[in-house]
């Protein structure tokens, strides 16, 4: 199955989405990511019982923080799908890319460039 998905997406593999912490999500934005989404297994299908549920809560927490600091909570999202859903993976990638394009670039990146800071 060779399915195309937008090439602007950088995939970071983790053993389980339960490993993803709020701090990882925030750091991605600090380093200039325009959007981040976490793709976990279907709810109820976690090999470690609640890894993907924890991930969702952490994504929500990151959303809350990003919203409060003016970056935009919508830039981080959680999706769930099974390993057999390749086409759905590509769909989500397109959906997320479009969503973030609409929101425009990460304001921090713009601000950094304007102020001549290094990313």
């Amino acid at each position: 199955m060779r399915i195309q998905y937008p090439e602007n997406i950088k995939i970071i593999g983790v053993p389980c989405t339960g490993k993803v912490d709020v701090l990882h999500l925030l750091r991605a934005f600090e380093k200039g990511a325009d959007g981040v989404y976490v793709v976990g297994c279907l709810e109820g299908d976690c090999r470690f019982n609640s890894g993907n549920l924890r991930a969702r809560k952490r994504v929500e927490q990151a959303q809350h923080i990003l919203e409060s600091i003016g970056v935009g909570g919508e830039r981080v999202q959680m999706y769930n799908l099974s390993s057999g859903e390749g086409p759905r993976f590509a769909e989500i990638a397109v959906e997320m890319t479009e969503k973030i394009r609409k929101m425009g670039p990460n304001p921090i990146k713009i601000s950094k460039e304007k102020n001549g800071c290094m990313i």
């Binding site: 912490d21 409060s68 970056v71 800071c117």
Partner: protein, 222 residues
């Protein structure tokens, strides 16, 4: 442990807005366990503040440190060499830690990054609840191991009041009535007759009412 919760980030931002060099100081004890002010929370706050101020076009130096404890001289001393590099410290320790830091580093502004709530326990992951108010004269031996001072909304020593309904407190249906718990436990222990012993008028002088308290152990002093 001492249970605290994080202050809203907006409040922290307001407090440090006019500074340029900020140190965020966590504590490895209670606030780490209740996930309000440990190393991880320091990292999250630092990242959020960096992004906020970058977005505002403001170049801030925001550093992170987490001490073993902020309520002991020896660990707080670790900051002595670096503290002058900062305009302000946001301490994520409990109120005791924040104050001890402020006492020690007299010329540095220290701001609290958490709201210190109570002495309590981890009921389950993400849920903490109060167990002790440090009244200075423990009566748990008389109340079946359940403290009416910290767990009854009216700190009634001879309860329950008329507001106890189906084991819950009238002020909050989620809250157990401390006196129901005491009675249930007395029952379990086969000591319900103890319920009829009147707990006398309490001496509150060992509590907050008596003024700030100290414990001195002469045998331990050098």
């Amino acid at each position: 442990m001492i249970v605290a919760k994080q202050k809203p980030i907006e409040e922290i931002i307001e407090g440090v807005r006019d500074y340029e060099k900020i140190l965020i100081a966590g504590c490895n004890e209670c606030v780490t366990v209740c996930e309000a002010g440990g190393k991880k929370e320091v990292g999250i706050l630092a990242s959020a503040l960096r992004m906020y101020f970058m977005n505002q076009g403001k170049n801030m130096k925001i550093d992170e440190v987490t001490l073993e404890r902020q309520c002991d001289h020896e660990y707080l001393e670790e900051l002595r060499k670096i503290i002058d590099r900062y305009d302000v410290v946001i301490s994520l320790a409990c109120g005791a830690g924040v104050q001890f830091m402020a006492e020690k580093y007299f010329r540095t502004r220290v701001l609290p990054g958490v709201d210190t709530c109570f002495m309590g326990v981890t009921e389950e992951r993400g849920v903490w609840s109060e167990r002790c108010q440090g009244c200075g004269k423990c009566i748990l031996g008389e109340t079946a191991g359940i403290c009416p001072i910290s767990r009854c909304a009216k700190r009634i020593l001879n309860g329950p009041c008329g507001g106890s309904t189906k084991g819950k407190c009238e002020i909050d249906k989620e809250l157990d009535c401390a006196w129901q718990l005491i009675i249930d436990r007395l029952n379990e222990l086969g000591r319900l007759d103890d319920y009829e012993k009147i707990i006398p008028i309490k001496d509150w002088s060992t509590e907050r009412a008596g003024g700030p308290r100290r414990v001195v152990r002469e045998d331990l002093r050098l």
